[in-house]
């Protein structure tokens, strides 16, 4: 029987029925301390420290702090210190604050090359779906499961259902991977993917860079999907080639990776076809990522349950054109859109312009390496010259666990992934957009259609 990409990876990792082997376990400071503590109490070890990699990202200040004593919040400092101590005690490699390798966990995995096709990858973080862009099976887990993987390098899992989203046509000029996935979630609903592993396919996906593919897979969880994945191809292999953790016999590895595709006639539990050429630049208007519309459109009339509450929270009236929504803040960052390709796109838009006087704008590179790369290309100067605050790497204002937060009532164009109530700061109002759209919004002080803007 013809197999899907998902079937192939699943079957290769079944230790026994319902027990899945994990090739790579990524760890960060927020969801791991209780897991390490339980291991300690039970006298258990980390089974495969050589398949485990940790970093500090959620709590780290982005003000250039390079060591623990510089972290002013005592709770954040304690949590990062706890990660460092746990990794030391259990022999787990860690890139903590100040390391040249530190960064958002879903940025550094692909960057170092430990994220590779055909792997199973987990992390105590829902955006682990990002790594599926390489043709890996990657998904988020809770702390009890983090402990389970640390102790056994496996997870007890029932095989999820499978879905394929096939995009016909091509994305229009100025329309990005972010718009593609926001538009998809808007069509499917915030729970349309619950219970499914989703394979994205079609010419619009094949045309995306690895950064774009990561953006798409990253936001799979926002539509409820367990994992998102894309079959590896030349674009994937070229990304991995030459990275530090790339296989020594690269050609042999690629030969194996070429087998990772969905065979003709393979069956999915659900298939959806979307015309990519119909997707416009997207702007979210509500308090979940399915509450999204075209930039050329207007804030919709409340139709579904929860819409009226969302509009009230967002301080928006139905019928207001999206392009008339004025902004206080712009955030370019997060595991969704803070890779070098994202920063290049945003910099291209703002080059030679100034941030509107009413807007406070910041860029937070996804990792220390992305920051260094951007600086070597002079992108930091482009952002600074325009009036952006150029920060250090971390999760930052995607969720505001560090000092980067919105004040109550502040309205923000954000390249992150969640517009939940209070996500970026209590009472803060988040509009999800692509890096290009965020950059143009920073200049104009309101949303503009990037396709017509110059």
């Amino acid at each position: 029987m013809p197999k899907t990409l998902f079937d192939k990876i699943w079957e290769a990792h079944e230790v026994a029925e319902g027990l899945l082997y994990i090739d790579l376990h990524l760890v960060h400071e927020v969801t791991s301390p209780q897991a390490f503590e339980s291991l300690r109490l039970a006298g258990r070890k980390v089974r495969r420290p050589d398949r485990t990699l940790a970093t500090a990202d959620h709590n780290v200040p982005t003000d250039g702090s390079t060591s623990l004593p510089m972290v002013s919040d005592p709770l954040s400092r304690k949590q990062i210190a706890t990660l460092e101590q746990n990794c030391e005690e259990f022999g787990v490699p860690v890139y903590s604050i100040g390391s040249a390798r530190q960064g958002i966990v879903h940025v550094i995995g692909p960057e170092i090359g430990v994220t590779q096709p055909g792997m199973t990858i987990v992390c105590g973080d829902s955006h682990t779906s990002t790594h599926g862009a390489f043709g890996a099976l990657a998904f988020g887990i809770g702390t009890s499961e983090v402990e389970h993987v640390l102790a056994t390098q496996t997870l007890q899992q029932r095989k999820p259902k499978s879905m394929r989203i096939r995009y016909e046509g091509e994305l229009g000029p100025g329309v990005t991977a972010k718009d593609l996935i926001l538009g998809t979630i808007g069509r499917m609903g915030v729970d349309g993917g619950v219970g499914y592993v989703i394979e994205y396919a079609g010419p619009a996906i094949e045309a995306l860079s690895m950064e774009g593919r990561m953006t798409v897979c990253n936001m799979t969880i926002e539509g409820g999907g367990r994992a998102g994945m894309i079959a590896p191809d030349e674009t994937t292999f070229e990304w991995v080639r030459g990275r530090e953790a790339a296989p020594e016999d690269f050609d042999a590895a690629v030969a194996g990776w070429r087998e990772l595709y969905t065979e003709d006639g393979a069956e999915f539990d659900r298939e959806i076809v979307i015309d990519a050429s119909e997707i416009s630049p997207q702007v979210s208007w509500g308090t979940n990522p399915a509450m999204v519309t075209d930039v050329t459109s207007a804030v919709p009339e409340p139709a579904g349950e929860g819409d009226a509450r969302a509009l009230e929270y967002m301080g928006l009236e139905a019928g207001t054109p999206i392009e008339e929504i004025r902004l206080d803040r712009v955030f370019i960052g997060s595991c969704t859109n803070a890779r070098i390709g994202d920063l290049r796109e945003a910099a291209e838009v703002i080059r030679g312009h100034k941030v509107a006087s009413t807007v406070n704008a910041m860029v937070v590179p996804g990792s220390a390496q992305v920051k260094a790369q951007a600086e070597s290309e002079g992108l930091d100067e482009v952002f600074r010259a325009a009036g952006f605050d150029w920060r250090s790497a971390g999760c930052s204002m995607c969720l505001g666990m560090n000092p980067d937060t919105l004040d109550p009532g502040e309205r923000c164009a954000s390249t992150s992934n969640r517009n939940f109530e209070g996500r970026q700061g209590r009472g803060g109002r988040t509009h999800l957009v692509s890096p290009r759209m965020a950059a143009a919004a920073a200049i104009e002080g309101r949303f503009v259609d990037i396709r017509n803007w110059s």
Binding site: Q34, S144, T152, V190, V194, A245, E248, D249
Partner: protein
């Protein structure tokens, strides 16, 4: 994990859909390195709204796609610490559902109509062994994975269960060992 079988008593109603884990347990409380004591922070911002009423009952009844968003297990920890022993909803986000079963907080899935009936009845009796929810004189069945049910009923330690298969695990690692990537060999 404590064994769980019958949960009965008054229900607390949260009649909202797509409740995300950022609402259940806001980010500022994720900085704690302890596993206990999260109940006091449950729905921290929503609890300040006028008319908010969520008594500490054994059962929470709520809308579809409960627990969406972040994978933070701090959300189920908070619900359990607050006093809930079971949740009844039309559907849950995948990671949240799994997290609940790992700590012995029973997530029950019922059709929307029956969830509304449980809300209206004000109290319920959930029998995991029999896989039934009884409320307002009506009894309706619910589905649950049989292995998950066995673990909940017996309060089993998942890691202990997996390590019973240590031979299979060792054989798998020997037979299918990957060349890499090996994280311990990376530059520091």
């Amino acid at each position: 994990m404590e064994p769980i079988n019958v949960v009965e008593g008054p229900v607390s109603v949260l009649d909202r859909i797509d409740v995300d884990t950022d609402q259940i347990m806001p980010k500022q409380f994720l900085k704690r390195v302890e596993r206990s004591g999260f109940g006091q922070y449950l729905f921290f911002d929503w609890a300040k709204e006028p008319g908010w009423d969520l008594p500490k009952n054994p059962i929470l009844v709520t809308g579809r796609n409960f627990g969406c968003g972040s994978s933070r297990e701090h959300a189920p920890w908070g619900l359990e610490d607050y006093g809930f022993k079971a949740i009844v909803a039309p559907s849950y986000a995948d990671i949240f559902y799994s997290n609940c079963t790992k700590i012995g907080l029973l997530p029950v899935v019922l059709p929307e109509e029956q969830v509304k009936a449980v809300m209206a009845a004000g109290e319920a009796r959930i029998d995991l062994e029999a896989q039934t929810v009884t409320a307002g004189g009506e009894s309706c069945p619910f589905e649950i994975d049989q292995e998950t049910k066995r673990r909940l009923l017996n309060g089993l330690d998942d890691i202990g269960v997996t390590l019973l298969q240590d031979d299979a695990l060792a054989a798998y690692e020997q037979g299918r060992e990957r060349q890499g990537p090996v994280t311990t060999g990376l530059l520091q």
